[in-house]
Amino acid sequence: MTNTSKPVVLATVDELRASIPHKGKPVGKLKGRQPDEQSIQEVRALIGDAPHRRDLLIERLHQLNDAFRGLYERHLVALAKEMNISMAEVFEVASFYHHFEIIKGDDKAPGLTIRVCDGLSCAMSGAQDLLEKLPQYLGNQDIRIIAAPCVGRCEQAPVAVVHQYPVIAATLASIKEAVSNNQTQHPIDQHPTSPAYINYQQYLDSGGYETAKLISQDESDEERILSIMESSGLRGLGGAGFPAGRKWRIVRDQPAPKLMAINIDEGEPGTFKDRYYLERDPHRFLEGLLIAARVVGIDACYIYLRDEYHGCRAILETELAKLQSAPPFLLPHIELRRGAGAYICGEESAMIESIEGKRGEPRMRPPYIAQVGLFGRPTLAHNFETLFWVRDIVEKGPQWFSDFGRNDRKGLRSFSVSGRVKQPGVKLAPAGITVLDLIAEYCGGMQEGHELYAYLPGGASGGIFPASLAHIPLDFDTLQPHGGFIGSAAIIVLGHHDKARDAALNMMRFFANESCGQCTPCRVGTTKAANLMQASQWDNETLEDLNIVMADASICGLGQAAPNPVRCVQKYFPKEIA
């Protein structure tokens, strides 16, 4: 296309002058939208009177979103006014998170929303079929049916979430049944959706919080606990694998006040271990949290829970309230915060932004979170599971943990196994186990009619390995030479009827959907890559350029790891894309 070198004239001065809306222009109001009294009253009824903490914006949006099944524009305007923040800030936060439904203009909120998980495990179990057939099957215009990224129930695939109620091993009929029964909330005592859990009293009765209490009473104990943690070899189980004890020491040496942020935004597709433990033994985690807070000198703890885990939220709210109303010793300030549907908030700095009530955009490092984190303070950021093991390690000694392990690796790993295995689920197994042994010893073997073809060792980001790499030990640092990593130990198993390229495309679409949109390589690269990966024959040259810029120049791990599935397919499954 050729361009002429003439300016693009949008309007001449005369045209502009003629367009001056002398008549009929609403001069009767100030610039921009103004809040109306009714909306102000509705908002106040939900969130109370001003002043409001800025960091609670997402909580406030949840209150509106829950009450009105969506966010009406007039409420956003009123919320901005009540919280004394700009409309733009409210909107950019609200529009960032999947679970906030902004309702434009005169539109009405849907009566009900059903989210069908299209994560890889659910996709392999027929999610697409559900998505296609559900609208007609339910035959209700007022029900909105949308695909949702992994909801963290891969062992129960396929899953559909009716408003907040997860229908596990979903069929058209079971979804319809939930709809007709108006089953839209997640009860915490309904099996098998919710297993039985150890409540506060039960936990106390079995000796719970004794360890934390002792530590809280003896200042000199801190160094002992620190060295136990350091020699246990416990590493961050969210995926990054940073040695937990070393992190405690780093943050402990920072100036007060110090904060802790606990990441239960378990969003890596295929991962569900945190949910598994949380819905069974929540206080074991809380005790770990209290020990860490005590040893590191934390003033306030913020627990960030992914919004998909409505059942877990109910448990945590209930049990935290019990703990706080009858504390075994002086507790630090603890707040439970609700995510709103954003994979990226599993990245620790994005989580911190989200706790501050902002868009979940990862921060640049340096400075590191340990120095400048939540609200600008030194922050200890931990994954749920890391804290879950603290009590056992302290009580049983560092050796207990490090004595586990196979193939020269040390410790325990909670593998979230899903896909074509007989018994998917959370498998607590020695670090360094191979996927062959894991399937054979822990999962009852492959499903009937499926032979191991490939596996994802670390969710969406950890790459895709062929069956020929099924003999390598699964642990931190062992998979990098092969172009992958273990991350949160989410193992998705593919059989010989599955294709690695389909899995890779599923992952890249997921990344494109979940990219925060901040940096160019990830925002543009993931979308373009997902586009190119649809071709039967891949444009490997362009894809590799995208791989390079995403891996090298993205701000955070999402973009940096996004090329892993692409590169693995290029390397291990070239026939699929030729």
Binding site: L30, V77, A88, E92, Q518, T526, L532
Partner: protein, 937 residues
């Protein structure tokens, strides 16, 4: 310094300096788009990534400071690969046709993005071009700015400009991933949003996705001329982009008062100079056409044809009549029969020559200007108290304040760029106290808002002073060493406890005490005020209270503290300094002072009047004086002012102006005042001349001529000199631009105790110099009174004040209070801004603001016409909902000739400052009404 290696070089960076900046200093330009000097680095575009030894991924050089010994590669194959790919990805989503061309070349369509792709020879491969994103629709809903997000690279520079610099907080970055987009408010069209059109975003946008509509396409202009914004007293430096003798756009320039920021008026309000209604020929009133002040009430400024009233004339004829008649009046009726109004919109040189003309040519001190209508009372109190009428600390010194006390001022509308410094301070944690009967936009940023009852300033301020003394919060050492008359103040405020004042001013006593405590204990607390303080019959008392408050707490004479009356007009400070006031020669030398009188008689070589002249409103009264009054004013010279719109009680003022035997008006438009003239002289607009202006911060700033005046319009400086010669004065100011440099030099000598160090040459070099500045190597004095006050005893004089009620209180017949003022888009009487396309498009219609409760009681809905009456006049105007307006009050901007607020206002004067009570009079309101002027609703 930190030593590190960049590619093959070993270079040094200052502590905290980024790799990008250090590289730039060494002549190495790393590609960058989201980074812009002066803005917080965000590191999102990733075009500037570099390789750092020991790090797994590349790092953004715009955000990363090097550490000692760091090995950085900006030009390694790996770094360059990613830099190029980032640029390619961004370019792949660009539209075929861009909006911002650096040169007339079709390959460089996308501003900075194209510059970098061209330098790095990056082109988009067809495979990526084929995957161009779905492009959003253009949004051209705003009068000034076009939004073409198909050229957006999501760099967020506009968001940072809007949120972090200007703190207008309209632009957000919404959605996520590839759907991420720039939004206004909650995704509204720009024209429907709360945008105040400061244009910081278009200045920030690297690709032209946000552009001034007037400069889409090629950015090549004939010339770029440095000047100063002609609107308010903030004094923003700017650059005019000129093509074919037309200003096509304006850029903010890095001046000490604005650091490249501008507001809607400065950035988009420039085309009034090209309005076809400009006066281009001298005009003389046709014989037999009488002056009818009533006619003005129904005059449509845009359609009225002056040719029924005036005829065109040559300069020679017009000057002969203008000057000749002044001469004959003077010679017939005496020196007091003439008066002149100069202008705070003109330059220092014009103000200086104008007052010199009146003092030496007319022969009296009957010279004044609109300072009388804005800060005369503040200046009176300041001269009395601290010995100087200017500010003690500059606006952006709020950077060092813990507490910022803003009273009677609406800075986001009237001093928008100054307001940005206050908002920036609030962002970093400073506490803003907004004290005003109206809660304006600044309220959003305030720690406390004191919405006190109109007219109760003294009660409220005395309660604050009472608390300081009562709770022993004062700075005793300061009080003892640096104040006088403290005991009188202490005695006087005894009756003003917060508890006693609460029912009077409407602010809870506990709040008053809390504010007083914070004010007193702040490391720096600064007071900024506007016309809400000054335009009362007790304006001088209001200002006295502010001086006392700052003094008893020791909040003056140090950084982040002090007294700052925010000056309205671009040169009201300079015009006053230059002596454009009836009681002072240049540099505030009282005409009654023997030494000063003698000095100026010597300096000008003429006998001078040693009695103060009359002030603006007094002159209006003197026009209507009895024939027998020897001081009856019969002839007037008005340069660049529009008293037929700006004076209080317009029916009276217009009647007075129409009663003059001889009125010469020098202006750029046919103002309401010019309609009553005998001779109209077509003058030059600010961009058409060279001269200096002095801003609210005491900065003398140079503006250079950017375009030629239209037709036979002339530089004001030339016109004044021509009239001087017709009055028999033999002046000689040689040199270009009507001898402006020579005039400045004379002024510098006349005002040597304040600007001796500011020479014309220095201004050419530096653009802006702060006074006092006494020698060529004196950098200027931003903060004054550090050691002493320029009073006779070197101390600040504390002057007690008691409650004086407004001249006209509401009653059953006129139950509402009328508050007049300005709004963001319209300047003063609107003679310029109503003729600026964009400004008039944004605010095209006269309106008056009320709170919903009052509107409801009157049966009014937003946009309804209502009729407002006072004892002096009537106007019909549309009503606007603004719940910041207090109950029982109505606010009206006075810029609209079709609904002139000053038809209603009261001309009662403050006895000291002689300023009229624009901020308070009684009116009645009823639903309905039609504009007196045909063509308006």
């Amino acid at each position: 310094m930190i030593t590190f290696t960049l590619d093959q070089q070993t270079i040094q960076a200052a502590q905290g300096e980024t790799i990008l900046k250090a590289a730039q200093r060494h002549g190495i330009d790393i590609p960058h788009l989201c980074y812009k000097d002066g803005m917080r680095a965000d590191g999102n575009c990733r075009a500037c990534v570099v390789e750092i030894k020991g790090e797994r991924s590349l790092a953004p050089s715009c955000c990363r400071a090097p550490t000692e010994g760091m090995q950085v590669k900006a030009a390694s194959p790996r770094a360059i690969k990613s830099q190029r790919l980032v640029l390619e990805l961004l370019l792949s989503d660009m539209p075929d046709r861009g909006y911002k061309w650096q040169v007339d070349n079709e390959t460089l369509q996308h501003g900075e993005l194209s510059e970098w792709t061209s330098r790095l020879k990056v082109t988009v491969r067809p495979e990526l071009k084929a995957l161009r994103r779905n492009q959003p629709m253009a949004d051209i809903s705003h009068p000034a700015m076009a939004v073409n997000l198909d050229a957006c690279i999501q760099c967020n520079r506009c968001v940072r400009a809007c949120r972090e610099e200007q703190v207008n907080d309209v632009i957000g970055y919404a959605m996520r991933g590839a759907h991420s987009e720039i939004v206004f408010d909650i995704g509204d069209a720009l024209g429907d949003s709360s945008c105040v059109a400061c244009g910081e975003c278009v200045q920030a946008c690297p690709t032209g996705a946000l552009m001034p509509k007037s400069q889409i396409g090629s950015q090549i202009v004939d010339k770029k001329v440095d000047s100063v914004c002609p609107f308010c007293g903030v004094g923003c430096l700017l650059t005019y982009n000129v093509k074919d003798n037309t200003i096509v756009s304006v850029d903010g320039r890095d001046g000490p008062a604005n650091h490249s920021r501008l507001c809607v008026k400065g950035r988009f309000g420039f085309d009034y100079v090209h309005n076809p209604q400009r006066l281009t020929m001298p005009l003389i009133r046709k014989a037999g056409v009488s002056k009818d002040p009533q006619q003005l009430n129904a005059l449509n400024r845009n359609t009225a044809d002056w040719s029924d009233v005036f005829r065109e004339a040559s300069w020679e004829e017009a000057l002969a009549i203008a000057g000749g008649k002044f001469k004959s009046l003077r010679d017939t009726f005496g020196k007091k029969s003439l008066a002149g109004f100069g202008s705070a919109k003109g330059s220092n040189e014009e103000a200086y020559l104008f007052q010199k003309l009146v003092r030496t040519g007319f022969g009296s001190n009957n010279v004044d200007h609109c300072t009388r209508l804005c800060h005369a009372s503040s200046v009176a109190a300041l001269l009395e108290g601290v010995g100087s009428g200017a500010v003690s600390n500059q606006v952006n010194d709020v950077e060092h304040s813990d507490l910022i006390f803003i009273i009677g001022s609406n800075p986001t509308s009237n001093h928008p760029v100054a307001a940005t410094w206050m908002k920036n301070a609030a962002q970093r944690g400073a506490k803003i106290v907004l004290a005003d009967p109206r809660i304006t936009d600044m309220g959003k940023h305030a720690w406390r808002t004191l919405q006190f009852k109109a007219d109760t300033d003294v009660a409220m301020l005395n309660a604050l002073i009472y608390t300081v003394i009562d709770e022993n919060l004062g700075d005793q050492q300061f009080i003892i060493e640096r104040t006088s008359n403290y005991e009188a103040l202490r005695q006087n405020v005894k009756g003003y406890s917060p508890e006693a004042m609460e029912p009077i001013c409407g602010i809870p006593a506990s709040t008053l005490r809390e504010v007083a405590r914070e004010f007193a204990k702040a490391k720096g607390a600064m007071i900024l005020w506007g016309m809400g303080v000054s335009q009362h019959v007790h304006g001088t008392d209001n200002a006295r209270c502010l001086i006392a408050l700052a003094s008893v707490t020791g909040q003056i004479g140090k950084p982040g503290s002090g007294l700052h009356p925010l000056r309205g007009q671009n040169n009201v400070q300079g015009a006053s300094d230059a002596g454009l006031i009836p009681m002072m020669y240049p540099n505030y030398q009282p005409v009654t002072d023997k030494l000063a009188h003698q000095w100026f008689e010597n300096f000008w070589g003429m006998p001078l009047d040693n009695q103060p002249g009359y002030t603006v409103v007094e002159i209006m009264q003197k026009i209507l004086a009895k024939e027998s009054d020897p001081h009856k004013v019969r002839g007037m010279y008005i340069m660049g002012e529009n008293p037929a719109m700006s004076d209080p009680d317009l029916n009276h003022a217009r009647h007075a102006l129409a009663s003059l035997d001889h009125l010469v008006v020098q202006d750029i438009f046919m103002t309401e005042t010019a309609w009553l003239a005998d001779v109209v002289l077509p003058a030059s607009a600010w961009p058409e001349k060279t001269g200096t202006v002095s801003n609210t911060d005491r900065m003398v700033q140079l503006g250079k001529q950017a375009i030629d005046p239209p037709g036979q319009a002339k530089a004001d400086l030339w016109i004044i000199q021509q009239l001087a010669s017709r009055l028999g004065l033999s002046w000689d100011y040689p040199g270009e631009h009507s001898g402006v440099a020579a005039v400045f030099e004379e002024m510098r000598q006349a005002m040597h105790t304040s600007i001796a160090g500011i020479t014309w040459e220095r201004l050419q070099q530096e653009s802006s110099v702060t006074y006092p500045c006494l020698s060529p190597d004196d950098p200027g004095t931003p903060t004054v009174f550090i050691d002493q006050f320029p009073t006779a005893d070197g101390r600040v004089k504390l002057v007690p004040a008691d409650i004086i009620p407004a001249n006209e209180r509401p009653d059953s017949k006129f139950p509402f209070v009328l508050i007049t003022g300005r709004q963001l888009e319209h300047w003063h009487t609107g003679s310029m801004t109503r003729r600026a396309t964009v400004l008039d498009a944004i605010e095209p219609t006269a309106s008056a603001s009320m709170c919903e409760a009052d509107m409801f009681a009157l049966g009014l809905e937003a946009g309804d016409m209502m009729t407002i009456r006072s004892r002096r006049g009537t106007v019909a105007v549309e009503v606007r909902i603004d719940n910041g307006t207090p109950k029982g009050a109505v606010f009206m901007p006075f810029a609209y000739h079709e609904a002139a607020a000053n038809l209603l206002t009261n001309s009662a004067l403050d006895p000291v400052g002689k300023i009229p009570e624009f901020k308070y009079c009684a009116v009645s309101i009823e639903r309905g009404g039609v504009s007196a002027i045909a063509g308006y609703r």
